[in-house]
Amino acid sequence: MAQRTATRPPADARAPRGGLLRGAAARTLGLWLLLALTVAVCALSIAVGTRSIGLGTVWHALLDGSTPGDETVIVRQLRVPRTLLGLLAGLSLGIAGALMQGHTRNPLGDPGLLGVTAGASFAVVLSIWLFGVSTASGYIWFAFAGALLGSVAVYLIGSSGRGGATPVSLALAGSALSFLLYALVQAITIRETTALDAFRFWVVGALAGRDADVVAQIAPFVVVGLVLAMVNAPALNLLGLGEDVARGLGTRIWLARGTGLLAITLLTGAATAGCGPIAFVGLVVPHVARAVTGPDHRWLVPYSGLLGVVLLLLADVLGRVVARPGELQVGIVLAVVGAPFFIALVRRRRLATL
């Protein structure tokens, strides 16, 4: 009873559980294609901007830092860190979203649900208000600490009820705590206009204006999170059968849940610390990936990660192009362009359900 989340539609309304690609060979091929696409998008992200740079020049600038000229500086100091940040954030958010929806078995499970995003937002607004921090790299440790504290608090509260940490109790604890923290954020930004002025630019989510240090700072957390996520994927398939069955098949429930939650926290925390709350990727990418691979998490996790990168970087490139010479923040482009695409997908085929 306790582990049955509410979202399972009745048997007749269930879509066939398979995805577009069936069989390991097709999925492996798909993964390689997606990897190639990811590389192409990364190249695009380095080449395109207010000042477009030919791929040949990009290549030279990457290989040899001593080549004179503005292009080398732009490529090595602006475009590459930005692209790397997009790469890390896209991977993190896509994978965290897949894990979150798998653990909660809820299509609305976005990676911020554990209080990560709310915790980070609260910490950032506090850092602006109390310490006058105002740069992206200044926010990063505050955001990360807030993210960790938020998710630890949610886990403690969600697991202290009689039934232990069930997906429903975690999700509800997460949304209640998020509401509380967002209310405090609102209270601060309503009282302090200066805090609102800085916060409104952080909260849209952007890749611009971050230097290479930010990438280096979040990278270790992303790597650990990725490893944990891959380890967690097979167990997540078993958990999908229900906790009783999973236990019968030899899964240690608390270990599987704990690994997953830790991975989600690290990945989402790192991404949010790096570029602000970008909610859309984690929510939507797993649905797209599931339409391709079906519900097997061993495939779903890597597909979600790479799709996350492609989506995030494409949106970022688009944001640089549409509003030249200025640019639109990636969080905004992502939702405005991504949502119609997502809706078309939802309408066109019967989505593989969770």
Binding site: I157, G161, H287, A335
Partner: protein, 363 residues
């Protein structure tokens, strides 16, 4: 892990339901399903009376109650009925509408995380209102919207967005899963537009918009209460009449069909009622945070049973908003918008209910 498998033993203890028989009609009810709404109503009346009494000219609760039943002296009547009652009325109506709307949507979607936000109502309303505040008279579109007024723009935005969600999700009937997915897509888009407008506006406009987004009762009066009251007068009976059908829908579409429910119609009516309730409430006071999503979950934990009780959710919503307004006006130093307080008051309560964990009601 040594914990026992969390399946509840069947028929543990006596059946908590009681039977009511009037002639040949009979119905089963739980005592708490009657007791909780009555208790909440009582607390709501008292809280509203306290709230009506507080202000620059304090009036005791007894005097307020006396005024409300038609007695009391002229000064008190003027202060309570003319000055303070409009705002408290808006609070009661907004809370009822949002609580009810949330309970309807959560029951329909069979998902404790669903709310009017998910169906795009809040997002659309926020786009409408923030566009009016930020664009103001600066552009033609802004002037056009501004002529409508803030509340009308919010109402139009909310209803349009919900219509869009509804239309895009409709495919020979309404699948809850698809509706929710379309809704989150469009809501994310609306949120992005709002945030974009906030980064493009002057900081003064951004501050005004920020208050609106939180949900506020400042400066609200009969003008806001009237449309909402009319909407509730129509929609409250409809939603209570839906209660039986919702109970059947909960078993799944097939079972409901077998029980004689016309499923597509029932689903469509449920969603339309929920959307309309939320849209009117949001246009009156802004998207008061927390109420629609969490109050139904609090209500179901208080009454027991397997789905959010409609009446109790509405009354609890009203109580939460009125109590938060009271806190916002009396305890806090400046006039914070009520939306800040609803979360601060409500979230710890839900967290406590979760920690105490008497029952893990899933929907």
């Amino acid at each position: 892990m040594t914990a026992v498998a969390p399946t509840r033993a069947p028929a543990a203890g006596p059946d908590p339901r009681r039977t009511l028989r009037i002639g040949r009609l009979s119905t089963a009810y739980r005592r708490r399903q009657l007791a909780v709404p009555l208790l909440v109503l009582l607390v709501l009346v008292l809280t509203a009376a306290v709230s009506l009494g507080r202000g620059d000219y304090p009036i005791s609760v007894l005097d307020v109650l006396r005024v409300l039943v038609g007695a009391g002296d002229d000064t008190q009547r003027f202060i309570v009925l003319e000055l303070r009652a409009p705002r408290t009325t808006v609070a009661v109506l907004v809370g009822t509408a949002l609580g009810l709307s949330g309970a309807l949507i959560q029951t329909f979607a069979r998902n404790p995380l669903a709310s009017p936000d998910v169906l795009g109502v809040t997002g659309g309303a926020a786009v409408g209102a923030v566009a009016v505040i930020v664009l103001g008279g600066a552009t033609t579109a802004g002037r056009l919207l501004g002529g409508l007024g803030l509340a009308a723009a919010a109402l139009a935005g909310g209803l349009l967005m919900a219509l869009l969600v509804f239309g895009l999700a409709w495919n020979q009937g309404l699948d809850g899963y698809r509706l929710v997915l379309v809704g989150i897509g469009l809501s994310a888009m609306a949120l992005a537009v709002v945030r974009y407008l906030l980064t493009r506006s002057t900081i003064q406009d951004a501050a005004v918009a920020n208050v609106w987004i939180t949900g506020s009762l400042n400066g609200r009066g009969w003008d806001q209460a009237l449309p909402l009251a009319v909407a509730l007068l129509v929609l409250l009976p409809v939603s209570l009449a839906l209660s039986r059908v919702l109970g059947a829908l909960q078993f799944g579409d097939d079972t409901a069909r077998g029980l004689g429910v016309r499923v597509p119609l029932a689903q469509a009516v449920t969603v339309v009622v929920a959307v309309a309730l939320a849209a009117f409430a949001v246009s009156a006071a802004g998207p008061v945070q927390f109420v629609a999503l969490v109050v139904p979950q609090i209500a179901v934990r208080l009454t027991g049973g397997s789905r959010p009780p409609l009446l109790a959710a509405g009354l609890l919503g009203a109580l939460l908003v009125v109590a938060s307004d009271l806190v916002a006006r009396t305890v806090l130093p400046e006039s914070f918008p009520v939306g800040v307080v609803t979360s601060v008051v409500g979230a710890p309560y839900l967290l406590w209910l979760l920690v105490r964990g008497r029952r893990l009601a899933t929907l």
